[in-house]
Amino acid sequence: MVSQAVIWSIFLLPLGSFALIALVIRPFFNRYSLIAGYATIAALGTALGFSIWTLRSVAQGHDLRFVPLEWLEVGSATIDMGLLVDPLTAVMLVVVTSVSLLVQIYSLGYMKGDPSFARYYAYMSLFTAAMLGLVLASNIIQLYVFWELVGVSSYLLIGFWHERPSAAAAAKKAFIITRIGDVGFLIAILYLFTQADNFAAAGLNAFHIPDIWQAAQPEAAAGALLGGAVLTWLALGIFAGAVGKSGQFPLHAWLPDAMEGPTPVSALIHAATMVAAGVFLVARFFPVFQHSIDAMTVVALVGAFTAIFAASMGLVMNDIKRVMAYSTISQLGYMMAALGLGLYAPAIFHLVTHAAFKALLFMGAGSVNHATGTFDMRYMGGLRKHMPVTYVLVLVAGLSLVGIIPLAGFWSKDEILLGAWDGTGLVDTWVNKITFAALIAGVVATAFYTIRMIIMTFHGEFRGGIEKELEDKGETAPAGASHDAHGGVHLGESPFSMVLPMAVLGIAAVVLGYLGNPQWDEEIGIPKHWITGFLGDGLGKALGQAGHVATLEFSWPMAAVSTAAALSGIGLALFVYLRRRDQAVDPLEQAGRLHTLAAQKYYIDTLYEDVAVRKSFFRIIAGTLDWVDRNLVDGTVDLIGWFFRNIGTALGKFQTGQVQAYATGITFGILAIILALLLA
């Protein structure tokens, strides 16, 4: 059984390495900034060990409920700092620490020579620590603190190269858009705070997460606390926060721009930390969500729409990281849709496998960039010959993303599709049908853009890299133009520190699916449907159900359908792209307006930036406030000033400097006092 101190140290180790780097290494030993990287890696390695230990302890069914530290007492609500360790937490801990560890190792090679090397590792440590704190939090306020800390550190990392205007703008955009969603989350928390007295009357703490679960159960004694429309709005408030963080429609616009950060940061954001936080939040409050059909329907439909919507934009992007960003949004849509349909365990399972192959894809993009100096796929091509290891690993990850049997992505996606088809009874059937259709369409699109990306990057002839790109853009001096440029084109495999974590993730992208073990009983050492059963049991325990919950059985017809969908997408892509050897013009541009629409991201960025921000916000709100400020506020102030200035001028007339005039005044005063006393 794992002790409380060990679990705390999972969170405290990266925090400690952040403090060490920020307070000691960066100020005093910045010349030896490599130790910052080693410190982070050591801390995360230990944390990963502890996380696995925790997972093992949870899997063995140990009672890991700890007495929380009391932090604040506000009215009848107590704000604690505590640990909530259940299967969900344990799985997330392992995912976060392992992906983060691999990303840190990768960064040793990728960020080598960056002048802000130590600062980079400080932010990365803080980012990981915030995510771990978020996963471990037992109190919703505590969770919110780390939620916002994740937002802040992602802001710092996306804007890491803050001297680049586009990076600063992207960081700002990410921060503001996620903040919009957080308002909903905050309102939900504030609503809980108003109910603190009712919770206390039922013996519950309004901020303690298991107590919130309990309050939402209709059959529980305190069932009346949260129910009906209130429950729906509460769930939607929490979901709003998740939409912002996980880049779901309509708050997805920040995620593609977040590519401005260093590529390993993107890997971390897209795989394990930032965007996973949204899915984690919905999963964490799943016992609340599942009692509101309306909220579940919204979650499912938003997820399904996002899955197909983002995939369609991924089809036409030319920037390799943007393709992956839309792919992430799309896959997060799958997870959200799964959660909305009540497929709690498959959603988390998909999060785990997705973490592996998406981190690998981003590392592959970083590796490609390392060689070519650019992210624009139109200037890549033919890299298969120069970087065979990267090619194989990206191919594995891509096929895993597409969902080709027997890779990891297949098993988790299959669970979701199967669950969507079968339904869980938590939402209406029509929602199931729509979601299923959207997800299957999403599989085709995913297969298409993945294969397109691989073909454009690795096949055909090399098209010149950064040098050609700069030439086309009419820029001559690449110096300092891009940190990612890594000094121009030098085709060849990336250094060992970059290839090693990619290889590890490549293995994971193949075998992780067998955590779900759909086929065999005990033959490979993992119980049948282990991870879904494990997570499902955790949820059941939270809801007070004893025994094992049912898991989805593997279904051959469904596997055939999804494979057929994936293969049709792959075939289409091969047909379109391999046929044309000269890739000067993207064949998809023949689609005309549809292509333009998708390439312009359905004009949503334009809508937000131009209509919402410039026209509505600047003109109407800011304009009104400006008018009020100029006329009403300034007018009042000026009036007061005018009044006293005139009084002062009038009184100044008495200020003659004549000492006898003053003495006359004094005499008058004394006389008045005497007369007043005498006549009173």
Binding site: Q660, T664, L671, I674, L675, L678
Partner: protein
């Protein structure tokens, strides 16, 4: 009593007339001389009020020192002939002064004063005059003071009070005097760096 009344009225006319002269006479030099007349009249009042010591001090300090100083100052500032002009505050000054006078007179007349008992008056006169007269036992007996009360009356005197009960104000006022003298010196001293013109 009649003699004293006559003296009082003469002194009063002298004092008030001279005082009006001080503030109204245009020639500043004459005003300063009239001020000395006021001082002398006030010294007369002091004698009437059996404060002979104060009368002496008044003549010494006011007439002998202050009036002379002012006359010197008047002559030094060379504004003698047309110096004593009124300023623009004539009317308020007259009004306020008149109002204050009316108030003071009303108070003086209306108040129920706690007068000394008649049998004490003689003894108080003796004590107050004691500053300039040796109060022998015979004199006191002649004045009707009982023998057993005589040491008390003999002991009482201005000097005893000044260095007895009032020693603290006495010292404070001497420091004040010193400070004022030093301050006056500092004021009239030529400022450093400028030659006396």
């Amino acid at each position: 009593m009649l003699f004293q009344d006559i003296v009082f009225w003469i002194l009063s006319v002298m004092a008030v007339g001279a005082a009006l002269g001080v503030v109204l006479v245009p020639d500043l030099f004459r005003a300063a001389l009239l001020l000395a007349v006021v001082f002398v009249a006030v010294a007369g009042f002091f004698i009437l009020l059996s404060a002979e010591f104060l009368a002496v001090v008044q003549v010494l300090i006011y007439v002998g020192a202050i009036a002379i100083l002012i006359i010197f100052a008047v002559m030094l500032t060379r504004d003698v002939k047309h110096g004593n002009l009124p300023n623009r505050l004539q009317i308020p000054a007259v009004v306020f002064a008149t109002l204050l006078l009316a108030t003071l007179v009303t108070v003086a007349v209306d108040t129920e004063w706690n007068f000394l008992p008649a049998e004490q008056q003689e003894r108080v006169d003796l004590v107050q005059t004691g500053a300039v007269t040796t109060l022998t036992g015979d004199l006191l007996t002649e004045s009707g003071v009982a023998v057993e009360d005589q040491p008390e009356v003999q002991k009482a005197g201005l000097a005893d009070l000044l260095i007895g009960d009032f020693v603290l104000p006495f010292e404070a006022v001497s420091v004040l005097l010193l400070a004022a003298l030093i301050g006056a010196l500092a004021l009239v001293r030529p400022s450093p760096g400028s030659r006396r013109g």
